[in-house]
Amino acid sequence: MIPLFAVIKFRNRKNDRWRGFRLWIPLFLVWVLLLPVVLLLVPFAVLTLRLAHMKAGRSLAAFWQLLCSLRGMHIEFEVPDHGVFVRVY
């Protein structure tokens, strides 16, 4: 299943106090908006993959698998005065 939400959290420290904000990104809306574009681009992608001597079906399946497996990804960076947190649901 493709990721449905992503959370991005930013933190800053000023005068020894942490402040920040959190963004919930509804990825399912992004996918819905991108769907017509993707459907239009698929024939071109297949043609390009064929020209590159790559198996189009398997390549698209692998790309889909890559997209679906993004769920559960968690990246967190924290330097002394700033912090970024990204999580994909």
Partner: protein, 143 residues
Amino acid sequence: MSEDRRSILEMLAQGKINTDEAERLLAALDKSMSAESGAETRTKPKAKYLRVLVEDVKDKHGVPTKVNVRVPMQLLRAGVKLASLIPDQAHAGVNTALHEQGVKIDLSQIKPENLEEIVDTLEDLTVDVDQGSGHGTVRIFAE
């Protein structure tokens, strides 16, 4: 050959048990051994994520620089699968670029059939680097 199996065969050779009894004992032994190995595989759950934790020296406020990355194993599988689909004629160029960056991997050796083996090997991976006090630590493990 296990010790139990050897002792059953020795008893058979010495005539202490007949062939039927030896067969029954060996069958019972196989059954218990397969049950044990099944229990072992059940107790070891498959790792779902590869975790990379980096912690650097603390600043004047005592806050260390931290990196915490959790990569799903499925993502690694998909990545390796995608890499295995790279056409043969592109392998040389990619391999040269990787070698220049110090990554000595031959992409032509990555095939879908040994994909699971690669990811399963990563599940047993644990790397701990501790540079002592005042320096950073790096931990890479599967969870």
